[in-house]
């Protein structure tokens, strides 16, 4: 089961990684390259980096859950 799901995941995962890279560097990072508005006390440019990290974490959780189910079974 894991094998077929693994191969299905590969392509979307590569797209996800490329998008993450592009959002972190210029020209797209230019969208976030401001000091204001401050969010949670952070300059917007830094908040953007943190936000993307949170998104990456959540996305990874979804990928993992898709491949292995609810994590009920043990290795």
């Amino acid at each position: 089961m894991a094998t077929s799901r693994r191969s299905k995941v590969t392509r979307p995962y590569i797209v996800f990684v490329v998008v993450m890279f592009l959002l972190m560097i210029f020209p797209l990072y230019g969208l976030a390259n401001h000091v204001f508005p401050l969010v949670l006390g952070l300059p917007f440019g830094l908040f953007w980096v943190i936000l993307l990290e949170l998104i990456a974490f959540v996305a990874l959780c979804f990928f993992y859950r898709y491949e292995y189910g609810n994590g009920g079974e043990h290795e």
Binding site: G30, N33, L46, I50, L52, L60
Partner: protein, 487 residues
């Protein structure tokens, strides 16, 4: 009680704990097995792996270079959380592949992996030598950090050479005796400690010196327009330099050979869970940058010899009364430096034994191999110690410099996994050219074309040469190439 006595006391307590945990970890394990020493018989648990990998991220950089970079270069320092989040992402796909191939073929290092795929002992040795050099360079920086923290927090009572010897000596002792288990278990203590310290100290400094994060960043932007952005008037870094330093650091992140070794320590599922946790490490680094930002407008830039000294400077000059914080920072900073050092020292010793020495004498017994690796810990340790006491260079330059060469493994490694046509000659030629170009732009040339990071210029040349030479030379056997590409 004097602050320095308190600091010394807590650092010593911490050192004893780290030492005991490191030594205990290797008890009742087979002392003479390469598999146990290098990859803990491929059976480390999740939390331990997580802390071991996290520990490598939180190095001396967290308490010295990171705050220094925020203080002196503002928004340029955002590149650190950015590349840490990105760097690990490809590992979710690559890690299990590498782990599967490694388990099947009984690999321990990246040199094993590349040498087998490209059928070249020379490649194994090149990768081994560069890895060991990069490891030593990286260690030098950690040892300097430890020595510096000891020296400044004890008011100079513990001299530079002795602080380094004490803290790093302990690392060498538990790595040599307990192998990867020693490194991993002491990292759990060290990781927990430095996370607590980083957050406490970061926020404490912001609230004491600047009122609140909002007030702080507003004030900085008023005093230094452009300092908190990239590529504008008054910005510390151009858009191209910023983007390419993120790219080279993120790509190079996976090429640290000890990561390969670690993927052989665990299962596929655990590799994926480890990857999941990584973007969070980037978030944990934010308070580290806060330390540097909190000093802006408080400390005059010329009050420091080097911006790396900003945290110790703040501690000794602005936190006079609080000896608890003093002790915490001492222990936390040592933990950060030591948790990277143990993993890197271990990785270096495995690379030295397996990639550099074994190819010249392939019939070595397992006992001799383990003996060489354990002795390698001491040899690498001594070299790094010597360099850090007598050599000199800025922390950041050293880190980026080591990364520059390591990132040149990218084409060969990715090529092994996705391109069946890559050949030995192509991989070697690409690597040699990439490393040469990188060194030229880092050391000889004044600047790079378009302000592109030296490592990326090297990488572009590397890829062109790798592909061109591969297409002109004879491919490796199809079954072998397929085994890697389809793993």
């Amino acid at each position: 009680m004097n602050n320095w006595v308190f600091a010394l006391g807590s650092m010593l307590v911490y050192l004893v704990l780290a030492f005991v945990i490191g030594l205990m970890a290797g008890r009742k394990r087979s002392f003479w097995s390469v598999s146990e020493y290098a990859v803990a018989d491929r059976g480390l648990g999740l939390i331990v792996i997580w802390f071991m990998m996290g520990g490598t991220v939180f190095s001396a950089f967290s308490f010295l270079g990171g705050p220094g970079m925020a203080f002196s270069q503002g928004a340029a320092s955002y590149f650190v959380p950015a590349y840490i989040a990105l760097g690990i992402l490809p590992w979710y796909l690559l890690g299990p592949k590498v782990g599967r191939i490694g388990a099947r073929k009984n690999f321990f290092t990246m040199g094993d992996f590349l040498g087998d795929r490209y059928q070249s002992k020379a490649l194994t040795v090149i990768v081994g030598v560069i890895s060991v050099l990069a490891f030593i360079q990286y260690l030098t920086l950690q040892i300097k950090g430890m020595a510096f923290i000891f020296n400044i927090l004890t008011d100079g009572v513990i001299p530079y050479w002795f602080g380094a010897l004490l803290a790093y000596g302990i690392v060498v002792a538990y790595v040599a005796t307990s192998g990867v288990r020693g490194a991993a278990w002491s990292d759990v203590l060290q990781g927990a400690l430095m996370l607590i310290v980083a957050w406490t100290v970061g926020y404490y400094l912001v609230y004491t010196l600047q009122g609140s994060p909002t007030e702080m960043f507003t004030a900085i932007d008023q005093a230094k327009p452009g300092f908190l952005t990239i590529g504008q008037d008054g910005s510390p870094m151009s858009a191209m330099a910023y983007s390419t330093v993120i790219l080279v650091s993120a790509l190079g992140f996976l090429m640290w050979p000890h990561l390969f070794t670690k993927s052989y320590t665990t299962t596929e599922k655990r590799i994926k869970i480890t990857t999941m946790a990584f973007p969070l490490f980037g978030i944990f680094l934010v308070p580290v940058l806060f330390v540097g930002f909190a000093a802006i407008g408080v400390v005059a830039p010329d009050a420091l010899e080097s911006s790396d000294e900003i945290l110790p400077h703040l501690v000794t000059n602005y936190l006079g009364a609080n000896s608890w914080l003093y002790g915490l920072i001492g222990a936390g900073a040592l933990a950060a430096a030591m948790s990277s050092s143990d993993a890197i020292t271990h990785g270096g010793s495995v690379s030295l034994g397996r990639d550099v020495i074994l190819p010249f004498k392939p019939d070595m017994s397992e006992r001799t191999q383990v003996w060489i690796m354990r002795a390698g810990v001491v040899v690498i340790g001594a070299a790094a110690y010597w360099l850090s006491i007598f050599g000199a260079a800025g922390i950041i330059a050293l880190l980026v410099g080591a990364y520059g060469s390591i990132a040149q493994f990218v084409p060969a490694v990715y090529g092994a996994l996705i391109w069946r046509r890559g050949t030995k000659q192509g991989a070697i030629a690409g690597m040699v050219v990439g490393i040469g170009v990188n060194y030229y732009y880092q050391i000889v040339a004044e600047s790079t074309p378009l302000d592109i990071n030296a490592g990326i210029v090297g990488l572009l040349c590397n890829i062109v040469v790798f592909v061109a030479v591969s297409l002109m030379t004879r491919p490796v056997p199809a079954t072998l190439a397929n085994e890697y590409a389809d793993a």
